[in-house]
Amino acid sequence: MAVNHAKDGAPGFLTTRFEALLAWGRKYSIWPFTFATACCGIEVMGAFGTHYDIARFGAEVIRFSPRQADMLLVAGTVNYKMAPVLVRIYEQMLEPKWVVAMGACASSGGFYNNYSVAQGIDKFMPVDIYIPGCPPIPEQIIDSIVLIQKMIDSGGSRARDRWPIKI
């Protein structure tokens, strides 16, 4: 985007592409939907609270319906019984959408290497950002939002565009 400033403070004009303008608006209004199933959810609350205040990055409007959300924040352990529920929620979200797997459990199953826990949500849905940690600190959640903002800004491809992954 290029902004022409008039020296006397008079209103100027701005030239841009529509996509860039859209991305600029989009990246400062990421509406998250939190899918918190374990202790990571507590850190999410910390990130949204006054101390870390994720509102500084335009992502404070937490949606409790996936139909209004842009970003799915999967915070916590997802077991096989819960997987269809999570996929249903993901499918209800409107495009464009981003998925953040927060913490070791959502990313890889964590230390729950057993019969009941899904070994990472990327087994059944595309994941854009993985946050390591058990649980991660709120700064890492902020970092994931900043990374998504960069993805939006640069028009980078999303995990959904590469889905399903064929090995």
């Binding site: 096989y80 019984k81 997987a83 269809p84 996929v87 057993n114 019969y115 009941s116 899904a118 070994q119 087994k123 059944f124």
Partner: protein, 163 residues
């Protein structure tokens, strides 16, 4: 521990049921009785109703897999009396080829979900249970995951998700 006098609870059980009480001990102050599975409902009804025992609180029911032993499975009942403030553990062995024991829901209605859990995790069948289906795992899950011979690395397809 064997030369000790059995406690009131165990003494009453032995007196009433005789040979159907296979073994008893009170190690570490925990009264425990191994009983014949055929008479579990009778024994539990007695424990609940006897004026000296009054086990009105069925705290827990769980299964144990003693792989390699015969009989293989064990059902453990943890009972407490709110009136008398005493506890007892009742254990009943169940063989692998016929893993059936009578349901104690007629005695303590709260045992319903515990029995379903034992069925889900160990495959122990509770005769006359009104709703014996899985409680923790999903319906399409195959096998019983807490059995010692359930492969540790076995993963089952995620139902309801197109992979």
């Amino acid at each position: 521990m064997t030369d000790k006098q059995p406690s009131v609870v165990l003494a009453k059980l032995i007196e009433r049921f005789g040979d159907d009480i296979v073994a008893t001990h009170s190690d570490f102050g925990d009264d425990t009785a191994r009983v014949n599975r055929e008479r579990i409902v009778e024994i539990c009804t007695f424990l609940r109703d006897d004026p000296d025992l009054l086990f009105d609180f069925a705290m827990d029911l769980t299964g144990v897999d003693y792989l390699g032993e015969e009989p293989r499975f064990e059902v453990v009942y943890h009972l407490y009396s709110l009136e008398k403030k005493h506890r007892v553990r009742i254990k009943a062995r169940v063989p692998e080829e016929d893993p059936v024991i009578d349901s104690v829901i007629p005695v303590w209605v709260g045992m319903d979900w515990f029995e379903r859990e034992a069925y889900d995790m160990y495959g122990i069948l509770f005769r006359d249970h009104p709703n014996l289906k899985r409680i923790l795992m999903y319906e399409a899950f195959e096998g019983h995951p807490l059995r010692k011979d359930y492969p540790k690395a076995r993963r089952q397809p995620t139902v309801g998700v197109e992979e």
